[in-house]
């Protein structure tokens, strides 16, 4: 899967959880939860959806690498191209 496709998929999943926030309007380098106003259960819902979609384990120990939109995208691209 190309990084551009992964980015589209990530945007789709974020839109599902935070439909009122446009991905184009957020700062991709800022705290993801702040930017999308998502709490821990929303974040778990996001991780669950991404894990299923990409067949990734998304362990809790890796949450530190999912702090911003850019981080999460990098994490997904890296995990899928291992």
């Amino acid at each position: 899967m190309k990084p551009a496709e992964i980015q589209i998929a990530l945007k789709e999943e974020l839109h599902r959880i935070a439909p009122d926030i446009e991905v184009t309007e957020i700062d991709p380098a800022a705290d993801l939860r702040e930017e999308f106003d998502i709490d821990s259960i929303d974040f778990l819902t996001l991780v669950t959806a991404l894990g299923k979609r990409f067949d990734l384990a998304m362990p809790e120990a890796d949450y530190a690498h999912m702090g911003t939109f850019n981080d999460l995208l990098t994490y997904l691209v890296g995990s899928l191209h291992k």
């Binding site: 959880i17 439909p19 009122d20 106003d37 821990s40 819902t45 669950t48 998304m58 809790e60």
Partner: protein, 393 residues
């Protein structure tokens, strides 16, 4: 023969607008079926039925705003024994319906196997329409049917989609969610003599338990601290029943079951605290499933009437992006609300040594008509104690 009534929708709502029938006259209904959907200030509420039978006829038409307690439909009991119809209640229904309700149809016994098909009943087939709560409210207030908004791409319908449809002229209209909250909280502050207690505690054991449990779990099976809070409060309540129940008509009615209302922030503004039924008898995994299910439905702006009226205590957690503590306002007719502040790493004396620990502040706002601070303090300590043995929750 019995009436299917508009149920209570919690302390802050007195009426709802019927927007959807999910069963048609002649259809068999059984206990637990969702029969109708009403639009309220807090979103779409699904109305369940609590008996088995056959839906005989509608008493209220789509689009009408009806007060709590109004008969919505006639249900013929399963045993098909013909009881006396209750004309006085139907007359009352017609009288109380706010909009010009149609005359209730005459209660004529039909052959049980003659289903009356009504093609006029708006009904969304297949998957539910995906629409944000704010958009749903605006659509309902503006008299736009949800069918008009459904789009081929199956995208989530947002507020701007609805505004576009209306022509952007209603941008200044206030949503009434705020009115609903204001009404309930004003009543609470007017009627309930609150007292407040606060207790800061080390929750490192609980935090570590969650991390350890989740280590080898797939995301869909992971726990959150919120589930531990719910269960810890529910277990602590077994010895402190004066915090779990309803105060109505100057009498406190304690509840044997704990239906913990979980305060959930609504995107775009507002708050609901629907009940997780029988919290005390569910394990942590079951509570997680219930929490996830509830949050998904609240985010979609759709939950059940009994979830709004049954809660016996409210638990509000600030999550991991909040502040140290909150001072709750009791949601009537409940008599207590537990607040849980954002856990933070703080210096703490643990086993005689100053070390960094995960610390959180629990608060209680309770009703002085039912309990006193002494018992409240013991109750907060009991919750703390439960959180120190998470494996036993």
């Amino acid at each position: 023969m019995s009436d299917f009534l508009m149920p209570s929708l919690g302390a802050d709502m007195e009426a709802g607008t019927l927007v959807e029938w999910l069963k048609e006259p002649g259809e068999t209904v059984k206990r637990g079926d969702i029969v109708a959907v009403v639009e309220t200030q807090k979103g779409a509420i699904e109305i369940e039925i609590f008996e088995n039978g056959v839906l005989e006829s509608y008493l209220v038409e789509i689009g009408n705003k009806v007060p709590v307690g109004t008969p919505l439909a006639i249900i013929r009991g399963k045993d098909a024994t013909i009881e006396e119809a209750k004309p006085e209640r139907k007359a009352e229904a017609a009288k109380t319906a706010e909009a010009a309700a149609p005359q209730p149809p005459e209660c004529v016994e039909k052959a049980p196997d003659a289903p009356a098909k009504s093609s006029k009943t708006p009904r969304i087939e297949g998957e539910r329409l995906r629409i944000t709560p704010a958009a749903r409210r605006l659509a309902a207030q503006s008299g736009i049917s949800l069918e008009m908004l459904s789009n081929a791409s199956n995208d989530i319908i947002s507020l701007s989609d609805v505004e576009e449809r209306i022509g952007g002229t209603v941008a200044s209209e206030k949503f009434s969610m705020r009115d609903a909250i204001a009404a309930a909280m004003s009543r609470s502050k007017r009627e309930i003599p609150h007292y407040y207690l606060s207790h800061t505690t080390d929750i490192s054991v609980a935090v570590n338990f969650v991390a350890e449990t989740n280590k080898n779990r797939a995301p869909e099976e992971r726990l959150l601290l919120g589930a531990l809070y719910l269960k810890a409060v529910a277990k602590a309540l077994s010895k402190y029943p004066e915090f779990n129940g309803h105060f109505t008509d100057n009498v406190y009615h304690e509840s044997s079951a704990v239906h913990a209302g979980m305060a959930i922030n609504i995107r775009g503004g507002g708050l609901v605290a629907p009940a997780i039924h029988d919290t005390e008898s569910r394990d942590l995994n079951e509570l997680m499933t219930a929490m996830r299910d509830l949050i998904i439905r609240v985010r979609a702006g759709r939950f059940r009437a009994r979830e709004l009226s049954d809660a016996t205590i409210t638990i509000t957690s600030l999550g991991d992006r909040g502040v140290d503590q909150l001072f709750g306002i009791i949601y009537p007719p409940q008599v207590a609300i537990i607040g849980i502040g954002t856990p933070a790493r703080r210096p703490w004396v643990h086993d005689g040594i100053l070390v960094p620990r995960e610390v959180a502040t629990l608060t209680l706002a309770a009703d002085h008509r039912v309990s006193d601070g002494h018992r409240g303090a013991l109750f907060l300590r009991a919750i703390d104690k439960q959180l120190q043995s998470p494996e036993a929750l």
